[in-house]
Amino acid sequence: MAEKEIIDNIEGEYKYGFTSDIETDAIGKGLSEEVIRIISAKKEEPEWMLERRLAAFRHWQTMKLPTWAHLDIPEIDFQDIIYYAAPKTRKKLGSMDEVDPELKRTFDKLGIPLEEQMALAGVAVDAVMDSVSVKTTFRETLAEKGIIFCSISEAIKEYPELIKKYLGKVVPHTDNFYAALNAAVFSDGSFCYIPKGVRCPMELSTYFRINAEGTGQFERTLLVADEGSYVSYLEGCTAPQRDENQLHAAVVEIIVEKDAEVKYSTVQNWYPGDKDGKGGIYNFVTKRGMCRENARLSWTQVETGSAITWKYPSCVLLGDNSVGEFYSVAMTNNYQQADTGTKMIHIGRNTRSRIVSKGISAGKSQNAYRGLVRVAKGAENARNYSQCDSLLIGDKCGAHTFPEIDSHNPTAVLEHEATTSKISEEQLFYCNQRGLSTEDAVGLIVNGYAREVLAKLPMEFAVEAQKLLAISLEGSVG
């Protein structure tokens, strides 16, 4: 198999690239205090929320775009973006049957089971279309256990005490440029609260979809697992195929109280742009969780989409004996760029963390792992194990690793392993000889390479992610 042919064949078709013809209620382009007031008013928010947004906006105006990532980011005109777009609702929705049929078809196309299938799948879904949360399923079932799962806009109105207590606690608006922007303009997202000692009986799930043209999407997710509780949470994302670049700047905050456990899985499949690098989502996301004593937070991500990904789901291991995990598969093809990784901040004693990162680069893409393991002075007996593997397909792509270790305690034990490999012609010949096409062979080899991470996903999503990896590599090999 010639190297060239291997490369020529990777250019998969994006199958979520449709747009839906839904009337949207959008405001004009641009960002100002006035726009923020409009967003807040449209969402009928209390005064304190507006004040928080304005504070974030004022701070954002003093900040500069971060440039440290290994990314080539075209200039973004923040005044050329629509900051609020919502599917127009004809009237207040009483039941599922009243959801706009076109919107329902969109979610059907995405394979999101909004209705009866939900019961079978045992998944509760909050679907966010453009900027607003469309429908949250299974609320009643969850409510029996005292679990709150709703859109963040509703939570602001209905559970102001919880929101005031937790929002911005792990990711304050001063954290970084995109977090500040999000804090100012976020339009919706999900809120989840698991009460003390409750094991959430089903997977909770959020689907994000950008539909309207020229809009940015800024969701805010806040997840609180109270003492001794457990929840597994999944988010998925898709967007239509457009020639323009669209901005997505989300913030996810997780609070894992004493003895609680949270698993947060992401399958990110925003439109990556076409094979010439035209269009695609700019994905600048801040995700961070804080663990109290004996708490455990596990991030699993499968990143195949977006033109640019800038994302570092992190764990602040505040409490003694807390555990943080990060499992990642990041795949880039054509002209995609990804700079992704994690931060493990060890503050408590006997804290442990584990990082398994699998990068896959194909086409002319650039894929970077960036990680920080920090051990604070008081973090006696902290342990970290990091493994960063890169798989290269073809010879025009790049894989980069930027691991940083910053230890202030001599009792810390930190391990780092890294490998770089290529799919060999011998492997492809072997698979071909057994009757597999080269494309299937590459999909198989890549899935084998990523298996350790995919195994961490909930079963039904692992299958989905496997298919996604194979699809995203379509055309990479000949």
């Binding site: 198999m1 010639a2 060999s424 012609e425 011998e426 492997q427 010949f429 072997y430 698979c431 071909n432 000889q433 057994r434 009757g435 597999l436 096409s437 080269t438 299937d440 198989l444 080899i445 899935n447 084998g448 390479y449 990523a450 298996r451 350790e452």
Partner: protein
Amino acid sequence: MLSVKNLCASIGEKQILRGINLEVRAGEVHAIMGPNGSGKSTLASVLAGNEKFTVTDGSVEFMGRNLLELSIEDRARMGLFLGFQYPVEIPGVTMANFMKMAVNEHRKFRGEEPLAAGEFLRMMREKSAVVELDSKLTNRAVNEGFSGGEKKKNEIFQMAMLEPKLAVLDETDSGLDIDALRIVATGVTKLHTAENATVVITHYQRLLDYIVPDYVHVLYKGRIIYTGDKTLALKLEKEGYDWLINDYKE
């Protein structure tokens, strides 16, 4: 079944096969022997379609088709199986998963439905018994961490699963201890029928004690210089190749 005429092939500038002629009919077993570097493995690779080699002349007909214009996978799906001398490892891909894809690709090619999971598992169990392959190995990644013997057994297991028309086994006996050799060789014999054919490439007569060949060919410097019956292998074992190749030495 297989008709090779004047096959010439090279790697880069180097000519390796210099006019191979070979006829294989259903039900036959052929052994190809010869000193190191004479082109035995190259012949196997070229038949399978390995693109490292360039065919410079000649023709190959397989099951009535021009083999040389088919892709590697189509050759395989038509029933050409290559038992590798050095099977590669594919980390993270389980044997079960790998075989399921392979078997179903073969079935699709023949216009058959994919096998149901239960049927497939039954088939895996049945076929792994042919070569006494520990069925636990089918849950491990393809050839990863397999011993030399296990890798070779695994090749024959795959042959059993795919039921090829023509199996070309490239030094399947190399690196095997006596017990493993017996198991692998008996496995191959069990799979032999009147409808299929086997070409074994080997250095040693001992394999042919189990897999009794109808023809033994001696390959030297890219040509088949001599063909005999099974007694030829015994003679070669005793006397070496000198008496045959003297005429061809420069």
